[in-house]
């Protein structure tokens, strides 16, 4: 921590909040307390300005025009690709495929890699804590190929049961698709260990990094993971843009996902030959300015330093966990030893939906529901939880407001 501080100076959260125009908004006359970062993060001025600048000064379609603006827009988009590559420490720029979001990235791999590689009886291994977007695409390809889905369980704390996972990885395992951080519980999954075990039997691994990349530095080469996906909007960038990282050799061997412009080399009615990476997987005009905005978000995070952000959020999570645990009738759902920035809980006698409405009137934004992770809710026999998820701009005062809001909930429901 001291070395970090020396490099960047102290983590000045008040100054950082000034980078996010929306944090000055008031909700029902109260200051906005935004604790729904796991659903989507707010945008710093650097991202908003980059988007405006792209539209105002360097916008045209990419990769085809010979004219000045087309070249500028192409350069801007490809420079964003390099930033993503650096961010993930990928070996090559063309291993970075721009997609709409993590959902599209997973669907792309399930459909393209899955159709080419899965045979009846082949196994896809998931975990209980996957987001629906890392379940449903695999069910779709299972139904098309006759593959089988296996599910590694979690324990009462919401940690992955590694012995069970190890037992489930076997000679028929072809794909292990697992989240890096659980969106409903905050559990950090030991993906390096999982990747080693999967590779030992020749299986490929896809990591859903949506909830991880805003908090944990990722090095896809050190991890040796085959596919890694994340969404831009959870990383303080725009929605509608996301990233699929894949090892070049795997991506090259995979058939295209969608057909159209940009992804071709030559087209006749008899035969089409496809473009090389990354364009083979980027049919149609991409979200050009979205990519530019994502690049700006990555640069912004770099300026703060991800390890410092992680340290700040870790401190907030510990503080919030301690304060909530001290409240009567609160049950924290997900107490894995390693967690990131997410605090899921229930309150005896009050449905999460009612808690969400009452907190909302206090200006506090939390998520209530099943968090697109119904198997997790079933595992804990809950219909829903309240989820507070922290971002780089949240403060201890905001945790105090959450605690005061919960006291208000209890007051209303006690009457």
């Amino acid at each position: 921590m001291n070395a970090l501080m020396a490099e960047h100076g102290a983590y000045d959260v008040a100054r950082i909040r000034g980078d996010f125009p929306i944090l000055g908004e008031r909700v029902y006359g109260k200051p906005l307390t935004y604790l729904d970062n796991g659903a989507s993060a707010q945008k710093p001025r650097a991202v908003i300005d980059a988007i405006r600048n792209a539209y105002e000064t360097e916008y045209a379609n990419v990769h085809r025009g010979v004219h000045y603006l087309s070249q500028r827009a192409t350069d801007a988009m490809e420079s964003a690709r390099q930033k993503v590559r650096d961010f993930l420490n990928a070996r090559e720029d063309h291993e970075i495929i721009f997609v709409r979001g993590a959902t599209e990235g997973i669907n792309l791999v399930a459909a393209s890699w899955g159709r080419a590689n899965l045979k009846p009886g082949d196994e896809i291994l998931l975990t209980t804590m996957e987001h629906h977007s890392n379940i449903v695409p695999w069910q779709m390809i299972r139904d098309q190929t006759g593959a089988v889905i296996k599910v590694a369980p979690i324990d009462d704390d919401g940690a992955l049961v590694m012995e069970e996972l190890a037992r489930l990885i076997g000679p028929r395992t072809r794909m292990v698709a697992v989240t890096h951080v659980s969106n409903a519980l905050g559990t950090v999954v030991p993906i390096a260990d999982i990747i080693r075990r999967a590779h030992a039997v020749g299986a490929k691994v896809l990591i859903d990094g949506c909830q991880a990349v805003p908090h944990i530095p990722v090095d896809v080469q050190a991890l040796d993971c085959d596919f890694y996906v994340f969404s831009g909007h959870k990383l303080y960038g725009p929605s509608g843009i996301g990233v699929l990282y894949g090892k070049a050799a795997l991506l090259e061997a995979m058939p295209p996902y969608q057909g159209g412009g940009e992804m071709i080399e030559t087209v006749t009615f008899q035969k089409t030959t496809y473009a090389g990476l990354p364009f083979k997987f980027e049919a149609g005009t991409p979200h050009i300015v979205g990519a530019v905005g994502l690049g700006a978000a990555i640069e912004y995070l770099g300026s703060l330093g991800l390890p410092r952000i992680a340290a700040h959020e870790h401190e907030l999570l510990a503080y919030a966990t301690e304060r909530l645990a001290a409240l009567n009738a609160i049950r924290i759902v997900g107490r894995a030893p390693e967690k990131a920035a997410i605090l899921s809980f229930t309150l005896d006698g009050v449905h999460p939906h009612d808690i969400g409405t009452i907190l909302d009137r206090e200006g506090i934004a939390v998520r209530t529901g099943h968090h697109c992770a119904q198997p997790v809710m079933d595992r804990f026999d809950l219909p829903a939880t309240v989820r507070a998820s922290f971002g780089l701009y949240n403060t201890r005062e905001e945790v105090d407001r959450l605690v005061a809001g919960l006291a208000r909930v209890q007051e209303i429901f006690r009457s």
Partner: protein, 150 residues
């Protein structure tokens, strides 16, 4: 609009002590309602006596608004002619989804449901208040299918 207008005592009371909670066996009509967004689930059971609701029960896992609305509904429709039940549902549905607040005459026509009108100012909660009613209506139509509000 204050929170107290939404969480009135009568609503909290029904949510904590739901009336007519339970099931009815065959030949009762039965229909489920799901709100996939928040996980609210309600099942409504009812039997008919000619063109009247003879008995009605419900089971629910849900928020205070959806449970209270279901409970209040069962009290209101038990023993009532189907025609009145359908008319009450359409008045209630119109009132909670209308742009303008209901006037005194409309409130009067809502019987005991006026307490639920507060959801109008909480648009994300309107579907909680109407879930059981949609399920009841589907049970009456005999379609017995699962209703979703989203």
């Amino acid at each position: 609009m204050e929170l107290r207008d939404l969480y009135q005592d009568v609503i909290l009371d029904h949510s904590k002590h739901p009336r007519n909670f339970g099931t009815l066996g065959p030949p009762a009509f039965e229909a489920r309602g799901n709100n996939p967004l928040c996980g609210d689930r309600v099942t409504v059971y009812l039997t008919l006596d000619g063109d009247r609701v003879a008995d009605v029960r419900f089971e629910a896992k849900g928020c205070a608004i959806s449970v209270a609305s279901a409970s209040m509904m069962t009290e209101l429709i038990k023993g009532r002619p189907l025609e009145e039940v359908r008319a009450l549902f359409s008045r209630f549905h119109a009132a909670v989804t209308a742009k303008n607040a209901p006037d005194a005459a409309n409130l009067e026509a809502l019987d005991g449901l006026a307490a639920l009108i507060g959801v109008r100012d909480f648009p994300t909660r309107v579907k909680c208040a109407t879930l059981a009613w949609h399920a009841m209506s589907s049970a009456l139509d005999g379609s017995g299918t699962t209703v979703k509000t989203e």
